[in-house]
């Protein structure tokens, strides 16, 4: 199946520094692609190129098989963007924000009044329709941002850290909305710092570090490929712990990551068996890896 969005070998330099260096991205209809990486990995720059805010220095972006660079205005008609910062129009009410945003697209949005009402209801914004956005809580501001990104019925939605700064209840409300949009067949590209968010929502993950793709696939396969099947947590102060780092180094494995007095060791199943034999007296905990572990590994790297 042809991906709705396909970017190949994207390159972008900003301020004399190569921020994105040969990134490939694919997103299909009805799929959420999580774009992950530590700060400075190039997520937002990649996203900004994908939705036409920045021009790539190199590489191609195809939307529904068509070169988006050559047909930018056409492609942008089908893209919805929810930026990391609130960029709604503070001079207008919530309802008028949706109306005004729709006027930035051609062909014009059909049955606009009905579409605005539909979005106000769906995003729980109806009681605030006549208010200025500044009066809304953080959660409802994000809802307005997403609703505004959808007013022209796009086929592909970009969400740049959509739940940053929200309380858990508001985050989960946004997750429900995003999940519902996927179920309707919308393709969604999502960047986030929250690993639980990426794991719960994403069908596929592309992990960036220093402007390059370091892993891609389903959340489970990305973790398996990058980390292994297990994470061993060893108290750093334990008597036998001193031998752990040399043991890892002797096998060409990464040095352990220190977290609050513990060492976190991502290990494959066969290596875990060797570890158990090498340190019989050591007390440790074994758990499944999470994206937090992947982030820690990337950040240390």
């Amino acid at each position: 199946m042809t991906p709705l969005l396909e970017a190949r070998q994207l390159v972008k330099s900003l301020g004399g520094r190569r921020v994105v260096d040969g990134v490939d991205v694919q997103c299909h209809r009805g799929e959420i692609l999580g774009l992950l990486g530590p700060n400075g990995a190039g997520k937002t720059t990649t996203l900004r190129m994908l939705y036409g805010f920045l021009r790539p220095d190199g590489g191609t972006i195809r939307f529904d098989g068509v070169d988006a660079g050559a047909e930018l205005a056409h492609a942008k008609r089908h893209l919805g963007v929810c930026t990391q910062d609130d960029t709604f129009d503070g001079d207008f009410t919530v309802r008028d924000n949706l109306r005004i945003a729709a006027r930035y697209f051609r062909p014009a949005v059909s049955a606009l009044a009905a579409r605005v009402d539909e979005l106000l209801d769906r995003f729980g914004l109806r009681p605030y329709a006549a208010m200025r956005p500044d009066a809304l809580s953080g959660g409802f501001k994000r809802r307005l941002m997403i609703a505004r990104a959808l007013v022209h019925r796009p086929r592909l939605l970009f969400l740049d850290e959509p739940t940053t700064g929200l309380d858990p209840q508001a985050r989960m409300a946004v997750w429900d909305l995003v999940d519902g949009l996927r179920a309707e067949g919308l393709a969604i590209v999502l960047t986030t710092h929250y690993m639980d968010e990426a794991e719960r929502l994403s069908d596929a993950l592309t992990v960036l570090a220093q402007g390059r793709v370091v892993a891609h696939g389903t959340p489970k396969s990305v973790l398996g490929d990058a980390l292994g099947e297990h994470v061993v947590i060893v108290p750093a102060a334990a008597a036998e712990a001193a031998g752990v780092a040399p043991w890892l180094a002797a096998r060409g494995l990464d040095a352990p990551v220190g977290v609050l007095g513990d060492w976190h060791l991502p290990l494959r199943a066969d290596t875990l068996a060797d570890f158990a034999r090498a340190f019989p007296g050591l007390r440790y905990e074994v758990r499944a890896p999470t994206l937090d572990d992947l982030f820690l590994k990337l950040a240390v790297a």
Partner: protein
């Protein structure tokens, strides 16, 4: 270059103008008070107050009442100041604080449309303000306080629009360059206000150096052209100079604005 200049006529640029117009019309009662009150204040202070001492001025070899002299100058002054302030402060606020531009740029609007939208909106607003000033002048004339021919005034509004486009393109240049809104004082006090006063708006400058400099000053030609139409005398050469200088400014400044704003807004 050509796509950039033709972007002025694109629907996206009109959508940006329409957005600004909607905001403005929401606040019409406060938005139209300053352009109505400023000329009244200036006509009373400079025209009747200072004019009482000055009496008449020698302009192009004839005596002209001071009030009649400054009325066209005020029209030119309004054109310059409104366009400059709109593209300096209002555009900076939209770009930096309100993030209006960033929101627009996530749609089918591109930066060239944002730039043209700002230029055209500043020009449209300036034209509306100039029309308000014209109404004030008409009221003064009705009460016999002003002796100018206002019949051609509506025909001057397109000239106001074109000149305001050029002035706002100049204003956007500073908007693209200054780091914070506090730095806006530099262009305002070092360029805008001095230029507004030494361009033959409120008093003539006869020094040869000033005359030579003013030959390339579109505001001077605007004031003299308006004066020629309203007070009587040759206006065509000055109005042609306004058109030529405005076209030159737009051809140079809009691409430069876009280049600088691309770096500022997009980081490119």
């Amino acid at each position: 270059m050509i796509p950039l200049l033709t972007a002025a006529f694109a629907w996206q640029s009109r959508a940006v103008v329409e957005r600004h117009l909607r905001v403005h019309l929401r606040n019409w009662h406060t938005a139209f008070l300053p352009p109505a009150l400023e000329p009244v204040t200036n006509l009373l202070a400079f025209g009747l107050g200072l004019g009482g001492y000055v009496g008449v001025l020698a302009w192009r070899g004839r005596d002209v009442p001071y009030l009649s002299y400054i009325a066209p100058g005020m029209l030119a002054y309004t054109t310059f100041m409104t366009a400059m302030f709109q593209s300096l402060y209002a555009a900076f606020i939209r770009m930096h604080y309100q993030k209006t531009w960033e929101g627009q740029l996530t749609t089918q609007i591109e930066l060239r449309h944002v730039v043209w939208g700002e230029v055209l909106w500043a020009a449209l607003m300036t034209t509306m303000y100039a029309a308000v000033v014209g109404v004030v002048l008409a009221i003064f004339r009705l009460f016999g306080l002003l002796d100018v021919a206002l019949g051609w005034l509506p025909a001057l509004l397109p000239v106001v629009f074109v000149a305001a486009c050029a002035f706002s393109a100049l204003g956007l240049l500073f908007t693209a360059l200054i780091p914070t809104i506090d730095h806006m004082n530099l262009p305002v006090f070092l360029l805008v206000i001095p230029l507004a006063l030494v361009s033959g708006t409120y008093f003539p400058l006869e020094h040869p150096v000033a005359r030579a400099l003013n030959a390339a000053n579109p505001l001077h030609h605007l004031a003299e052209g308006f004066r020629g139409v309203l007070v009587g005398g040759g206006a065509a050469a000055h109005l042609l100079a306004v058109a030529a200088l405005s076209a030159l400014m737009l051809a140079v400044l809009v691409p430069l604005d876009l280049r600088l704003l691309r770096r500022r807004v997009l980081g490119e």
